[in-house]
Symmetry: C2
Subunit: 273 residues, 2 copies
């Protein structure tokens, strides 16, 4: 175990660079912060390349560190608090970090996805800009039993520090498929047997409570401010909405995504026992 | 219209004091920040006592200011940016604020609530500590058509700047009932004909999808970290849970509250046409 005291240390600087999307793409790795998230990465079977912790964290999070070590391939480092700051994204960081290989499942191509069995339910997110929203949507998807999420158009990165925190590690385990233009890919998805449901805040759309989700289904959800692209809505098989008893405009994006996914999974589960 | 240039101005200092819960309680008033929220307060029929804005805000939010003025009882003030800072809770404040009377509906007593017709669906929140969570829950409740929320135990204040922001003004329109100890009040609620449903993350509890919500129903939700008090769970008529297809522990508090309220309202709506 090496002891790093200098903020100029190259290993730490390389790890800190992973706070940025470009470095993550180039290196196929990401930086994980916090005792629970690091242990979760290890428990999810990810390759943990390196582990960094402060003296204080080593004492406080011994059990978590042990879990991470089980999956550690390279080296662990004891770092001074001033060095740990370089790796921290939060103000009150716990002082434990690890560098992990980005899991192959999170880099599934559309071609690979189309070769998989056409069954069950997926989520497609279009142009989500806020990493916390992205994380929360992934977390809810996983909780409800949705294992594949298509990230379409200019979506933020699921492995940024904020998205990881909001997602509680859901990105470690989900199949994530990057799709440049959902609109252009919809005909291929339909040909393969997928049914697509564009969610819109429009009371003239079909009610989500009345849809048949026993078919292979993709729920398509847009970003908080602007919703889905008009061409995406037009190219989906169905336009669905949450029938509102109260003030429709008041439902926020993550509550609305949770209800849409819940309805899809509830009905899927009803028809599949 | 008065022009305030000094940070020592008494009117501004009295308004700024309303950022704190104690002053809000004493004065029966609260401070509202942002063009949309101020206009929403006015549109919701609240008494707007005073209005503060910077020169820049006056130019940018003319239409919003007009809406607020329609309900303004006292004075409006043009304030310098340095003065506006005293009223701001956000870093990038829009520079528009108003002081409103706390609506009487938000100070409904349990006695008053028990005298109201026993029908429909309510939400009860116990010991919510995070104002953003509280705001989001109120916003979702209103969106789904729940008009009464019981705030039980040591709940944070629905009229704090953060809770108002998260709630998008839901607190202006909901009937809010403060309940010191929910456990002690449950027998009275049951006697009046209310059915209570304690939500728990426990797969042995009754499934929320299989409950009868056609009766007058109160969904009882606890705080993010610790859930409901054991004595509250024991005193409720039912223990309900969201049947999970995925990783149950992954669903966050606001997504779970949204799904619970949605199930209650969906079924209530089914049985009431």
């Amino acid at each position: 175990m090496e002891h790093i005291t200098s903020r100029r240390n190259e290993t730490v600087r390389a790890a800190a660079a992973l706070r940025h999307a470009e470095a993550r793409r180039e290196q196929g790795a990401f930086l994980c912060e916090g005792a629970r998230l690091c242990a979760d990465a290890a428990k999810s079977g990810l390759t943990v390349q390196s582990l960094f912790y402060t003296q204080k964290a080593a004492q406080k999070y011994t059990a978590y560190l042990q879990k991470v070590r089980l999956h550690l391939t390279d080296e662990e480092y004891l770092v001074e608090p001033s060095v740990a700051e370089l790796l921290a994204d939060t103000k009150s960081s716990q002082g434990i970090y690890c560098v992990c290989r980005t899991p192959a499942t999170s880099r599934t191509t559309l071609e690979q996805f189309l070769q998989q069995p056409v069954q069950g339910a997926c989520l497609a997110l279009e142009q989500i800009q806020d990493p916390t929203n992205l994380g929360t949507a992934l977390r809810t998807a996983e909780a409800l039993g949705i294992s594949t999420v298509l990230l379409c158009g200019e979506c933020c990165d699921a492995f940024s520090p904020k998205a990881l925190r909001g997602g509680m590690g859901a990105a470690f385990r989900l199949t994530l498929v990057a799709v440049d233009s959902l609109q252009q890919m919809l005909p291929a998805l339909h040909q393969h047997g997928w049914h697509t449901f564009a969610s819109v805040p429009d009371s003239s759309a079909e009610k989500v409570t009345q849809m048949d989700f026993s078919v292979p289904s993709i729920m398509v959800v847009g970003n908080e401010g602007n919703g889905l692209l008009p061409e995406t809505i037009a190219a989906c098989k169905h336009r669905v909405t949450i029938p509102m008893l109260g003030r429709a405009e008041s439902l926020n994006a993550s509550a609305s995504a949770a209800i849409l996914m819940w309805e899809m999974m509830r009905k899927w589960s009803d028809s599949n026992g």
